[in-house]
């Protein structure tokens, strides 16, 4: 922003106090690199003799747009500070959704050939939600199916985090951007520098993905699971570790053998753990680090309890097979709590109690610092402690009780942030659910209250499948454009934990 000339006496205030140009420039750089992503499916397309043009077209368009934005930003990028960070994060993720959807649009994919729908699917990909508008996934070509999986993998740990880890010259200012993108209230530092932390977390992420792909491929190769091809093994590894939930199969994980489902359960549980702790446990070979962590304990307790309730509820009801009630109970509990969104069976037909529990699980999420969405266990834990303190202080108003996590006192500001996050989350959820309810009453589809609730919870929490007409084997296709846009927004808000978007809506963000 150029200052007004001094001769005018009083200096004119700049229109904006935020360096929007610098922020746009940085977004441009990030988007420019994101344009490289579709080259992976393009190569696959050539290999499978499918058309690579939707991908190459995306690369061209996104690359050009990125360069243009970068040029607009000019040399002012050094001024991108914590205030601009919110804008960068919000815009980058919005554009990521566009990048994700562009190939569907260019290919004229059935059900995804309108911008609104393509954006929904793209956003569902990068935000690792896993909600889909596709009715029949088999109509996708191999390359397009892999692109869908790949967007989730890219979005799992965060785009900016990825850029920070891979691009040495990217000058993004420190922790603040990282914290607004990484899931969870705090980022556990693993190295002296942010870049080192990020690189280690990414290494772990890649390692887990490769491990899962190998195990799944092995199951297919040894004949344990005939349905599992190497292509599908990679495709599912790419969406398990980011707790995404897209599948190459219309029937999700039901298409695979029980052993495959158990393997996927293990990796979903791992993906829901705090990656920084997981790194320490893996490198230091000390599993005790994990066992001693209060959040991880609660995470495991919740998983076990939910699985047990579901298994008991399922016994002798809708499923057959000896281990089926336990397997389906555990699988669905893990899948929905971590926000993955795979299904080992069509749970839409389960009892009300089971469905209620599944919807409740959508509000939990995994550990902070994992790839999961939703509120996250850490926030529930801290909120529980805050409530317990409030109760004690009603009786003893003068009592000073610092809240501790793993015996370290937690700052009161962090606690306030946690409380307001949860309130904001509930508020947004209620708002989203209301809009969906009104829209479905006017334009269809017909939904029960639980279905509406689950639709809002599954999109805001980046879970994916919901109940009723949008159950795990069905699609979000019946919704009108209004609901589709609302749910796209919910996914976007949920992934970047709302605050970066919501502060943009305040006047004080833009002015002094």
């Amino acid at each position: 922003m150029r200052a007004a000339d001094g001769s005018a006496g009083a200096r004119r205030r700049p229109l904006l106090e935020v360096d929007a140009r610098g922020a746009l420039g940085l977004v441009g750089t990030l988007v420019k690199y994101l344009a490289l992503a579709p080259l992976f499916p393009a190569v696959l397309a050539v290999a499978y003799s499918e058309s690579p043009w939707p991908f190459l077209g995306t690369t061209a368009i996104v690359g050009a747009a990125g360069l243009a934005l970068e040029r607009l930003g000019g040399e002012t990028r050094t001024s991108v500070g914590s205030r601009e960070g919110y804008l960068v994060v919000a815009l980058t993720w919005l554009l990521a959704g566009v990048v994700g959807g562009l190939p569907y649009l260019l290919a004229g994919q059935q059900h995804l050939d309108r911008p609104v729908d393509a954006l929904f699917e793209g956003m569902s990909g990068f935000t690792t939600t896993g909600a889909t508008l596709l009715v029949d996934i088999d109509t996708l070509g191999n390359a397009m199916a892999m692109w869908r999986q790949f967007t989730q993998w890219l979005g799992g740990l965060g785009i900016i985090v990825l850029a920070l880890a891979v691009l040495p010259r990217l000058r993004v200012g420190g922790r603040q951007i990282l914290e607004s993108e990484m899931p969870g209230p705090e980022v556990d530092q693993l190295g002296e520098r942010i870049r080192q932390t990020v690189q280690r977390i990414w290494l772990l992420y890649v390692g887990l993905t490769v491990a899962e792909a190998l195990v799944l491929a092995l199951l297919g190769w040894t004949g344990v699971d005939d349905a599992m091809t190497p292509f599908k093994a990679v495709a599912h590894a790419l969406t398990t570790i980011p707790t995404g939930g897209f599948s190459t199969e219309s029937r999700s994980l039901e298409a695979f053998a029980a052993s495959t489902q158990w393997v996927v359960v293990v990796f979903m549980v791992l993906a829901g753990l705090n990656f920084a702790l997981l790194w320490r446990a893996a490198v230091g070979r000390r599993l005790r680090v994990l066992a001693r962590d209060e959040e991880i304990r609660l995470y495991v307790i919740l998983l076990v309890a939910a699985s047990a309730v579901l298994a008991v509820e399922l016994v002798g009801k809708t499923v057959s097979g000896s281990d089926a009630p336990i397997r389906h109970g555990v699988f669905q509990a893990v899948s929905l709590m971590t926000g993955t969104g795979y299904a080992s069976t069509d749970f839409a037909g389960w009892t009300t109690l089971a469905l209620m529990l599944l919807v409740l699980l959508m509000f939990l999420g995994g550990s902070a610092g994992s790839t999961t969405g939703s509120v996250k266990v850490l926030r529930h834990l801290l909120l529980g402690k805050v409530l317990r303190r409030e109760l004690r202080q009603t009786l003893h108003p003068e009592l000073v009780i610092p809240i501790r996590l793993n015996s370290t006192p937690i700052d009161e500001r962090t606690l306030r942030a946690v409380t307001s996050f949860v309130l904001l989350y509930i508020g947004l959820f209620a708002l989203g659910a209301s809009v969906i309810a009104v829209d479905s009453a006017i334009q269809g589809p017909e939904m029960t209250p639980l279905d509406v609730i689950s639709a809002a919870a599954a999109t805001l929490g980046n879970v994916g499948p919901a109940t009723g007409p949008i159950g795990p084997m069905l699609s979000y296709e019946p919704f009108s454009d209004v609901s589709t846009v609302v749910m796209t927004l919910l996914m976007w808000l949920g992934r970047i934990e709302m605050i970066p978007v919501i502060v943009l809506l305040t006047r004080r963000y833009w002015r002094v």
């Binding site: 003893h396 003068e398 009592l399 000073v400 009780i401 610092p402 006192p409």
Partner: protein
Amino acid sequence: MKVFVVGAGQVGSTIVEALHGDHEMVVVDQEAARLTAIAYRYDVATFEGNGASRKTLTEAGISGSDLVIACTSRDEVNLVAGAFARIEAPGATTVIRTSNTEYVELWREGRLDLDFVVCSELETANAIARVIGVSAAVQTDVFADGQVQIVEFDVEPGGGQGIVDSPLREARIPHDSKVASIIRGESMTLPGGDDVIHTGDRIVVIGSPEAARHWGEILAPWETEVTDVVVFGGGRVGMAIARALVEQRIAVRLIEPNRERARDVAEALPDVRVYNATGFDPEFLERERIGRTQAAIFAMRDDAKNHFAAALARVHGVEFTIAIVHEPIAQKVYEASHVDVTVNPRQVTAEEIVRFARDPRTHQLAMIEGDRFEVLDLTCRPDSEYVGQVFREMPIRGALIGAVVRNGKAIFPHGDDVLLAGDRVIVFTEAANVPTVERAL
């Protein structure tokens, strides 16, 4: 001996008072008024200047000192003075006073090149914890980092089940403890197996802290063990007291009026319930049932506030009150208002330093019953005639080995145990026998 003292405050003047008779002393302080007060009363040299300045120290004549004591109220000055003393008077023993337990820990780890570090807060806290820890104790003292405790009890009617009126050999004496002395009127004995404790005797017991507590329970079963204490004031002293009490598994509540300080204390001491309140609010005292507590300790910075709060606590029903003394006169004031125990941190610190100054080679001396008995803490020489001997066979020469500290751990020896070279031995002895014992070991 030439003693060099940095700091002429309460601690410094108490030290001067205790040592000026036998030693040649120099006192350094920045405030002329304090020095004048000391110079008028005692025959010591004084020097006005900054104790943290090497120039001051050399000009005041630190070189050639045998003992350097840095006891100003500022840790940094004391540390620097201690460091300069090492340079200017390499042969001198150095003692510093600190209010930070961190320095004490560093010194214990051997990271500070000083001969002795005394922490007022820690000494005060330990003194209070000892009083609270053993019911019915007349006087008590600890050795070997708190692993060995010596307690004096009065044997009152109704107490002492299983011990009183039977020969010691048959008495049910708590494990890890010994009766060191029986005092009956003017006569005092180092008892053997045939001696008998009678009601009305005063006895001295040496043993582990648990055993000491057990003795208290046996001798005064009507006095319930203190399990609930309220500390007023969360300053450094209050915090140290709270920490020491929590270590004895006593439930501690602490009242601190300053909001941030209260938070700091609560963060540092998870097991202490901290209230952000003043101790003068009757409504608060009533709501939290402060009056029901077994003991209240007043550790605020201001004697007058402690005094008022103690009186108010009494009004609310607290029966046992302990107050910290800042100005020496406050002690008399507290006593006049029936505060049960008073502790002066500066006094305690000075005493600790004086103890050390009297004889740095024997670790520590305690005087029981005036000066008729002494407790020695000696390290056993390799050429001592007792090395390798079984305790049962050691001739008694008016002394009793109460405990042995081997590799930092206290052992309470039985008849079959053997004394080794390098053992630290806690000996209870008649004052007249001290030189004999020192020679023998």
